[in-house]
C-alpha cells in the first residue's frame, strides 16, 4: 500500500512526535479504578508525565515516583525506593492497585522488578517500560499485557455474554465508550481494559482523590478470564489478547486494526451480528451509518482535492488515514512516532518513522495536517490547515470527548476535516 521508510538516517530527533514507553504505561494504569501509577525512576520523569497529561486532559492526574536519586541510583537496586514508595503512598491513600512501571534509569541499572514485586505485600502490577525502547503505544500495550498476566485468574468456563475490549493507546475516552456502547447494544456485558472512558473522560466527580477515579476495577480485571469474546483494536494490542487467551482455552478472539470509516465499522457490526445471531441493529446505529455515508459524500469533494499529512502513533495512523482515504482524502504522508507492523497497512502514499522536522522537509507534499499540538507551529509557519488529534493537545480543551470512531464519530471527523480544508483554501486563495 504505502511506501514505508522505517530506518531513521538521522542521529537525533528534531521536534519529536515520539512519546516514551513509561508514559504509555502511566496512561494505561490510569484506566484502572483507584490505581496509583508508580513510575520507577528519577522524579522528573513523573513530573513531566503528570504535567503532560494534566494539560492534555484538563484533569488532575494520579501518579507517584520512586524518586530514585544519585546516591541510591548506584546502590539500591530498586528495592528500597519501591518499598518506601508503596509505604508512603499507602500512608495517604488506599489504592486498589499500585501500577509499577520503569523508566530508563532503573533499567540501565538492571533493577530486578519481578523480585521486588514478588515480595510486595500490596496489590501491585509491574511492567518493564524503559524509555530507550518502544514508545507510547508499546508502553500502554505492555501494561495491559502485564495487568492480564499478573491479575487475571485462569478460568475454564466462559460466559458468552461477557466481552473484553482491548483498546490501543490512542483511542480517546469517548471513543472507548462508544465502542462499548455499540457492543452493549448487542446484549453484551463489555469490559474495557484499560478503560479511560470512565476515568479520564472529563467529568466533575463528587470529590477529588489522589487516585485515578473510574476505570475498570481490579476485581473486574481478575475475573476477565471467563469472558466469551475478546476484541482487540490496534496492532499493538494483539499481544495482550494472546496472553488473555492463555487464561482460558474457551475464549474466542477477534482483532481489528482500527475502527475508523465505513468498512471497519461495518466489520465490527458484522462480527457482532454473527456472534449474536441478531438480524439487525438499533435504529440509532442504522441512522448513523446513513449519516456517515452522507458525510462521506458531503466531504468528498473537499477532501478529494486535499493532500494530507497525518502524524501520530501507528495504530492511530491506521484508522485516521483509512477514513480520510475512503472519503477521497489524499494522505500523501504519514509520520509515525515509532516503527510497527501496522505501518505496512496504512493507507497513505508514504509512511515515515520520523519527527516534525521530517514533516517540515516534506512541506510541499501536503495542504493539511492531522496531528498533535506540536504541529501547530508547523501549520502556522507553512500555512497549512490543522486538525488537532493525538497526544499532546495542549492547545485545546475537551480532548477526551473527541470521537472519530465508528459511524457517528466518522461522520463528525469527516465534516470537521473538510471544513478545516475549506477554511484553509479560503485563506490561501
Amino acid at each position: 500500500m504505502a511506501e514505508v521508510t522505517r530506518k531513521r538516517d538521522k542521529p537525533l530527533q528534531v521536534n519529536p512526535v515520539k512519546l516514551s514507553q513509561p508514559m504509555g504505561a502511566t496512561l494505561a494504569f490510569s484506566g484502572v479504578d483507584r490505581c496509583m501509577p508508580l513510575m520507577h525512576g528519577a522524579q522528573g520523569c513523573t513530573s513531566f508525565t503528570k504535567v503532560f497529561f494534566t494539560r492534555h486532559f484538563c484533569e488532575p492526574i494520579a501518579i507517584q515516583t520512586t524518586a530514585v536519586t544519585d546516591a541510591l541510583a548506584v546502590l539500591d537496586g530498586g528495592g528500597y525506593s519501591i518499598v518506601e514508595s508503596v509505604k508512603n503512598i499507602c500512608k495517604k491513600t488506599s489504592p486498589s492497585l499500585i501500577g509499577l512501571h520503569t523508566t530508563g534509569l532503573p533499567e540501565t541499572r538492571g533493577d530486578d522488578l519481578r523480585g521486588v514485586a514478588s515480595k510486595a505485600d500490596f496489590p501491585l502490577v509491574y511492567v518493564n517500560t524503559p524509555d530507550y525502547e518502544g514508545g507510547f503505544e508499546s508502553g500502554w500495550a505492555l501494561t495491559c499485557k502485564a495487568l492480564i498476566e499478573q491479575l487475571v485468574a485462569p478460568a475454564a468456563t466462559v460466559n458468552d455474554n461477557k466481552l473484553v475490549l482491548l483498546p490501543h493507546v490512542s483511542l480517546t475516552p469517548i471513543e472507548v465508550e462508544r465502542i462499548k456502547e455499540l457492543i452493549e447494544s448487542f446484549g453484551f456485558n463489555v469490559l474495557a481494559l484499560p478503560d479511560l472512558s470512565t476515568s479520564l473522560d472529563g467529568h466533575l466527580g463528587e470529590k477529588q482523590t489522589a487516585l485515578s477515579s473510574g476505570g475498570i476495577s481490579v476485581e473486574e480485571i481478575k475475573a476477565l478470564g471467563n469472558a466469551g469474546l475478546v476484541i482487540s483494536v490496534g496492532e499493538s494490542m494483539r499481544e495482550s489478547a494472546k496472553v488473555l487467551l492463555q487464561k482460558n482455552a474457551g475464549m474466542r478472539h477477534h482483532h481489528f486494526s482500527h475502527l475508523q470509516g465505513l468498512e471497519a465499522s461495518d466489520s465490527l457490526v458484522e462480527l457482532l451480528l454473527a456472534e449474536t445471531g441478531f438480524n439487525g441493529v438499533t435504529p440509532k446505529v442504522e441512522r448513523w451509518r446513513q449519516r456517515l455515508q452522507d458525510a462521506m459524500l458531503d466531504s468528498h469533494f473537499s477532501l478529494g482535492q486535499t493532500r494530507i499529512l497525518v502524524v501520530g502513533e501507528p495504530d492511530q495512523l491506521a484508522g485516521t488515514c483509512r477514513i480520510l482515504h475512503d472519503a477521497g482524502g489524499r494522505v500523501t504522508l504519514a509520520v509515525s512516532s515509532v516503527d510497527s507492523p501496522q505501518l505496512e497497512k496504512i493507507w497513505a502514499k508514504r509512511v515515515l518513522v520520523g519527527d516534525l522536522e521530517d514533516a517540515e522537509a516534506a512541506a510541499d507534499e501536503y495542504d493539511l495536517i492531522v496531528g498533535n499540538c506540536h504541529c501547530k507551529a508547523l501549520a502556522h509557519r507553512l500555512r497549512k490547515g490543522l486538525v488537532l488529534r493525538g497526544f499532546p493537545n495542549w492547545e485545546e480543551v475537551g480532548n477526551p470527548l473527541k470521537n472519530d470512531l465508528l459511524y457517528e464519530g466518522g461522520a463528525y471527523f469527516l465534516y470537521e476535516t473538510a471544513n478545516v480544508a475549506e477554511e484553509m483554501r479560503g485563506k490561501t486563495v
Partner: protein, 450 residues
C-alpha cells in the same frame, strides 16, 4: 578535567540563610511522596531561554519528548526561535549498551549543519550519565570543530530537584560562557538579570523602565538572552537576581571571581516593582539615578492607580485565600494587596523560612499562615468569609463547594502578571474570576439528587 560541579557544595550553599534547617528535605525526595521536577528540568529552565542556542538533550525520549514547547519563554531573537524546537538524541537500547557518544557527536554535527546556532547546550540525563557518556569531551571537541561554545550541562534527573538543576544550569553557564568574551562597550550602569526567564514576557514589563533610567541590561540568565551577552556578563556592575533563590551561589561566585555585587528582588506587584527599581538604582550607587528612579516610580505608580480605578469597586472588601508555594506565597499576596484585596490566609507549607517571614510581613498579624492548607483552607473560607480562592487545580472543588470564585495559580499562564502593567492583567483575570457565575452554577445539585 570534568566540568561536573560538586553537588554537595551547591546544596550547602552558604548564601542560603535557611539552608541549615532544610538541608535534608532539599536533598532527598521521599519515594512515593514527591512532586516537582528534576534537576534536568531545572537546568533547562535556567538555560532554555537562549533562543539563539541549540539545546540538545542527550537521553531517552521522556526527557524532551514530554517537555518541549511547554514553556512560553519569549524572545526578540530575530532568527529561528530555537526555544520552540526540541532536539534529543533519543538514545536506544543499542546506545545504552554500546555508548551514545557517537550518536551525540553526529547529532551536534547535524544541528550545526542545519541550524547554525550561536552555541550548543548538551544536557546529560539519567541514562546517559549512568552509562558514562563523556559529554565534556564531546563538547570540547565540538567547540573546537565548529568554533562556537558548546556547554555540557551536568544535571541528570537523579541528582535532585528542579531547584538544584537551575543552580547546575547556572554553574554551566558560569564555567563555560561567562568571561569568554569582552563587551564592545561598558557603561557605569551595566547590570545582569539573573533568574529572569521572561516567561510570558515578564521581563518586558519592566525592562523598558530600566532603559528609561539609563540602566543597561548587559546580559541575562537567561530571559530573551543572547549567548554573546552572557559571555560578557563578567563586566556588569551589578547582578540582579529576580525571584530566584536558586541562583544565589552563581552570583556569589561571580562576586568572588569578578567582584560583581548582587541584590535579590521581585518585580511582582506594585510595591515590589517599585522597591526593586529603587534597589537597583541604589546598588548602582548614583544619587542622580536614585532621584530619577524615585520620580519614575512615582509616575508609574500614579499611572497604574489610574488604570486600576475601574477595578477598585470589584475588589473592595473582597477577601482572598492563597494556597501556593515558594516565593508565590508572599509575592502573589503582595500583588493581591496592591489590587485592594485582603489576603486573609496564605499557605506556607512549601515555603522556605525566608518566604514565611516575608509572608508574615505582608499579611500582618491577622493573616493566617497555613501549614496544612489542604485541610485549613475550607475552614478559613467559612471563618473569614473569603470570596476568592487562589490555588492549584485540585482545590477548585473546595471553591465550588463553598460557592466562591477560584483562580488557578498554577494554570499555565499566557500573559504576564509582572511589573506595573502585568498587575493590570492580574486585575483583569481576578475580576473575571470574581464575576464568573460558573463556580456557583456548577455546584447545582442534579435534579435527581434533590
Amino acid at each position: 578535567m570534568s566540568s561536573k560541579p560538586k553537588i554537595k557544595d551547591l546544596l550547602d550553599e552558604s548564601a542560603c540563610e535557611y539552608n541549615k534547617t532544610k538541608k535534608q528535605a532539599c536533598n532527598a525526595p521521599r519515594p512515593g511522596a514527591t512532586t516537582g521536577g528534576c534537576a534536568f528540568e531545572g537546568a533547562q529552565i535556567s538555560l532554555f531561554p537562549y533562543a539563539d542556542a541549540a539545546h540538545l538533550v542527550h537521553g531517552p525520549i521522556t526527557c524532551l519528548g514530554s517537555s518541549w514547547e511547554t514553556r512560553a519563554t519569549k524572545t526578540t531573537w530575530p532568527g529561528r526561535d530555537l526555544t520552540r524546537m526540541g532536539f534529543t538524541t533519543d538514545v536506544s537500547l543499542n546506545d545504552v549498551i554500546f555508548s551514545g557518544e557517537e550518536k551525540l557527536v553526529k547529532a551536534i554535527d547535524y544541528i550545526m549543519a542545519h541550524y547554525a546556532p550561536t552555541a550548543v547546550f548538551v544536557y546529560s540525563t539519567c541514562v546517559t550519565a549512568m552509562i558514562g557518556d563523556d559529554i565534556d569531551f564531546i563538547c570540547r571537541q565540538g567547540a573546537e570543530k565548529h568554533g562556537i561554545p558548546m556547554v555540557p550541562v551536568h544535571a541528570p534527573g537523579f541528582v535532585g530537584s528542579k531547584n538544584l538543576g537551575s543552580r547546575l544550569g547556572g554553574e554551566a553557564a558560569l564555567q563555560h560562557l561567562v568571561g569568554t568574551l569582552e563587551p564592545e562597550t561598558t557603561t557605569p550602569f551595566d547590570i545582569n538579570l539573573i533568574g529572569e526567564y521572561n516567561v510570558t514576557g515578564d521581563m518586558w514589563q519592566y525592562r523598558h523602565l530600566l532603559d528609561k533610567l539609563g540602566i543597561r541590561v548587559l546580559a541575562t540568565l537567561s530571559g530573551d538572552g543572547r549567548i554573546k551577552d552572557i559571555r560578557c556578563a563578567h563586566r556588569a556592575k551589578l547582578n540582579v537576581i529576580v525571584c530566584a533563590k536558586s541562583l544565589v551561589s552563581l552570583t556569589r561566585k561571580m562576586h568572588e571571581q569578578y567582584g560583581i555585587p548582587s541584590i535579590s528582588l521581585s518585580f511582582y506587584g506594585k510595591r515590589d516593582t517599585s522597591k526593586g527599581l529603587l534597589a537597583i538604582a541604589r546598588a548602582l550607587g548614583d544619587p542622580g539615578l536614585v532621584a530619577r528612579t524615585k520620580k519614575l516610580v512615582a509616575y508609574e505608580e500614579a499611572r497604574l492607580e489610574e488604570r486600576l480605578k475601574p477595578y477598585r469597586d470589584v475588589f473592595a472588601d473582597k477577601k482572598a485565600v492563597l494556597n501556593t508555594g515558594g516565593n508565590k506565597t508572599w509575592s502573589i499576596a503582595a500583588a493581591l494587596q496592591d489590587l485592594g484585596l485582603e489576603v486573609v490566609a496564605t499557605a506556607v507549607k512549601k515555603a522556605t523560612g525566608d518566604d514565611r517571614a516575608r509572608a508574615r510581613e505582608y499579611l500582618g498579624e491577622k493573616g493566617v499562615l497555613m501549614m496544612n492548607p489542604g485541610v485549613e483552607q475550607a475552614r478559613l473560607i467559612d471563618e473569614k468569609g473569603a470570596h476568592l480562592l487562589l490555588a492549584g487545580g485540585r482545590s477548585l472543588y473546595t471553591a465550588i463547594k463553598k460557592g466562591i470564585a477560584f483562580a488557578d495559580v498554577n494554570q499555565e499562564k499566557k500573559k504576564s502578571y509582572g511589573g506595573y502593567d502585568g498587575l493590570l492583567n492580574l486585575a483583569e483575570d481576578l475580576k473575571n474570576a470574581l464575576e464568573n457565575p460558573v463556580f456557583k452554577l456548577v455546584a447545582r445539585r442534579a435534579p435527581w439528587q434533590k
